[in-house]
């Protein structure tokens, strides 16, 4: 056996490779994903959970409260359950009535808090929350599954497992709002609490508690329907149910408008991969765990259903990728050095892009001790990257554009295809949408997401400026390029901050952005319903709060063998 090379760092994958939409649209959840990191933290800090109020009538209408008690703070999910006529049920964010509405309350609500919330929370966007509420959300029952489960339980038997596998949830959230929206408490007010230091933790705590409510309401209705015969759900079947979520374009611009946050997420994941690739040898335990994960992933792929032709084809590709990978693993790791690195390099010429990204998540998986600290480094003070250094010269700025945005300079924005779309916010519900620039009106109210076009226009102006003029001077004459100048300086400091694709081009597929973001949340089983919205399942197979103490908090993402 050759002597191992001295420890060294494998390279980080380049932003030019990672930050292409085609690849970002293939990301999978990993152990750094927020749902998983949250549950690990709740377990580690011995959180306790309790349903402290259940006043739901025989029509399923009323209020329920679930309390999460941490070492320093209590939070309560306040649930309002409604009796919604079927014709009112819509997945769309523009709906105005839901089967259930929720708020995550800071502390334990008193009677007057519940009264106030009852007048605000069911209105969702149309109400104004207070600084005591951290999250606002709502959910609808699954037409395919909810009634089946209630009827089965009422009849005294368990629901059909195949149907549960097919759908995966009893209720779908259609929005989960936080961070100061609609009067909610802003992030800055809670960011110093250890449970909420990292991004989206409050929102995901709320969703996890919502999942508990979805089971309770189904069991409650079954009991009402048939008090004598009704049974509770088998815990093993219950685990197969997550919370569904429909996500449309509203989420897509987030990655463009929060570049420093995007960088920290991608950087954490790429750093984790780099650490694993830098291991000179594969440990026996890690190798065994990895091989099991590959097998469990194969099982998981069989329960990933979608009618979307593009994703269906990719899932078929993934199944082939797993077979090819299993072949490769027969002789892997062998005795060659840096075996994880070799596997990643091998994947780049043998697996689909979706397969490569799945492998990234799978090689990270058995290395918790090596990478889990990175999950705590996925927040950022965005204000630290908003300033513009006025001393940088025109010449240097042009060099930086060539370095980071050559792909944008190579795009001809006089071509209609290159600027076929525009992002806008609809007046009706303040929802981001995508318009066709040459077919619809409204492009004069375009949102600032045409980064490639704007950088190129900035470059053209720089070309006709004095090379050693400062940015301070240049922007005094051309303040219209301020957004592009800020973006460039930020991307120069945080290279994973920019999606290396034209977000207004005719070829852009918006769900690639959604998929990337949702993978960081920890979602899986992506089910695109069009090129611009996607349905997912959250927390499927995760432990429930009432069984949390007795279970391993982080071994749920892949189905058991």
């Amino acid at each position: 056996m050759e002597p191992l090379k001295s420890p060294q760092s494998a390279p980080m994958r380049s932003p030019q490779m990672v930050m292409k939409l085609e690849r970002m649209g293939c990301f999978h959840q990993s152990r750094l994903s927020f749902m998983r990191a949250l549950l690990r933290q709740l377990k580690q800090d011995h959180w306790q959970f309790e349903r402290i109020r259940w006043e739901i009538d025989q029509n399923g209408v009323g209020v329920a409260v679930y309390r999460a008690r941490g070492p320093e703070h209590d939070y309560s999910l306040v649930c309002f359950s409604h009796d919604l006529p079927p014709e009112k049920r819509s997945d769309r964010v523009i709906a105005d009535q839901w089967d259930a509405t929720f708020a995550l309350f800071d502390g334990e609500p008193r009677e007057q808090d519940i009264d106030r919330l009852a007048s605000v929370v069911p209105l969702q966007e149309a109400g104004q929350c207070s600084q005591r509420e951290l999250v606002l959300s709502r959910a609808n029952r699954s037409v395919r599954l909810f009634e089946h489960v209630v009827k089965s339980l009422a009849d005294g038997h368990q629901p059909d497992l195949d149907m549960i596998q097919q759908v995966g949830y009893l209720m779908r959230t259609t929005a989960v709002y936080g961070n100061g929206k609609f009067g909610l408490c802003g992030r800055e007010r809670i960011a110093d609490r250890s449970e909420f230091t990292n991004a989206f933790r409050a929102e995901l705590l709320a969703v996890w508690l919502i999942r508990w409510f979805t089971i309770d309401i189904a069991e409650h209705l079954a009991k009402i329907r048939n008090p004598e015969k009704a049974v509770l759900m088998d815990p093993a079947i219950r685990r197969r149910l997550g919370v569904g979520n429909s996500t449309g374009l509203g989420m897509a611009p987030f990655l463009g408008t929060h570049p420093s946050l995007l960088h920290t997420w991608i950087n954490a994941r790429e750093t984790a991969l780099m650490r694993v690739r830098s291991l000179p040898a594969a440990g026996i335990n890690e190798t065994h765990a990895f091989e099991q994960i590959v097998q469990r992933m194969r099982i998981s792929l069989d329960s990933w259903h979608t009618a979307d032709p593009r994703q269906a084809k990719r899932i078929e590709g993934l199944k082939r990728d797993i077979e090819v990978l299993e072949q490769q693993l027969i002789t892997w790791p062998g005795d060659s050095p840096f075996p994880w690195n070799q596997l990643i390099i091998w994947s780049e010429s043998h697996l689909s892009i979706e397969g490569q990204e799945l492998l990234v998540s799978m090689v990270i998986e058995p290395h918790g001790a090596l990478v889990d600290d990175l999950a705590d480094q996925m927040a950022v003070d965005e204000s630290a990257y908003q300033g513009i250094d006025g001393s940088v010269t025109v010449e240097k700025t042009m060099q930086l554009i060539r370095l980071h945005y050559q792909w944008a300079l190579d795009t001809d924005f006089d071509e209609h295809d290159a600027c076929a779309r525009f992002w806008y916010v609809s007046e009706e519900k303040l929802e981001p949408r995508l318009g066709e620039r040459f077919e619809e009106s409204g492009a004069d109210k375009e949102q600032p997401l045409a980064f490639a076009r704007d950088i190129k226009s900035f470059f053209r102006q720089l070309e006709s400026s004095v090379a050693n003029d400062s940015m301070a001077r240049f922007l005094m004459s051309y303040p219209e390029h301020r957004g592009a100048a800020r973006r460039l300086q930020l991307v120069n400091r945080l290279p994973y901050a920019e999606i290396r694709d034209n977000l207004i081009g005719s070829e852009m597929v918006p769900i690639d952005m959604l998929r990337c973001k949702l993978s960081f949340f920890g979602a899986n089983k992506f089910d695109p319903r069009s090129d611009r919205w996607v349905r997912i399942t959250m927390y499927q197979d995760a432990p429930f709060p009432d069984e949390f103490n007795a279970t391993e908090p982080d071994d749920w993402i892949f189905p058991p063998l």
Binding site: E87, S90, G186, G390, S391, M476, R482, D531, R532, W533
Partner: protein, 230 residues
Amino acid sequence: MHLSLNQVEHTARKAARGAGLLWGLAEDAGRAVRWLEAVDLPGASQLVSLLQKVDHSQLGPLKIIQQNGRWKAQSGKASPLIVGPSIADCANAGSLGAAGNQEIYDDRILAIENIAFPLLIAGFAGAATTQCERWIRLTWDQVKLYCCPDGLGFSGNRKELDAEFTGKLEVQLLQPDEVVMHVFWPLSHDSCSLLKADWEALESYAQLTYVKSSAASRMAGAGAGLNDND
């Protein structure tokens, strides 16, 4: 009305854009308003008054020119939404002469002529101090403001603080140990209270950035049917 700083920043940003500023400048305006509200000064109210009194639909007349060591608007009153970002750029560069004005050096005072709502400048300067490691003194009439990373120091005549106009605003970069303050308003890092009229005015400017939708655009633009149940 009680609002989160995030809500105020985002709406102020959209309001500035709705009033005609380009997004890059509007983003800075939103942050400046947020900073002022975080020290409990009326940033949102000042922005509303400014947008109502100074036309921001044309950038040309608002652009800054440098003359005899002073900054002034191309024509008419200078807008703090244009001047503020340039002061921040210079502060980040460590010199008020960074915009190429040969007569201003680090230890000199930059003068700006005829500027509307000078208090808004403190929002830009305050936000900049977290990055530039220098403090910024603003002086007009009987007002002295010391913008620093933790908040805003003040001395002078409180009545002139929210002046609609001043003939001369002076700006100076300072080392923290050069500063003596009488009153200090700390960054509260929390929420803020706005007059309902100000909030509604901001929202109506913000409204100008939204596109009216039709049933057809709703289908195409969001990519889903109106009702989807499974």
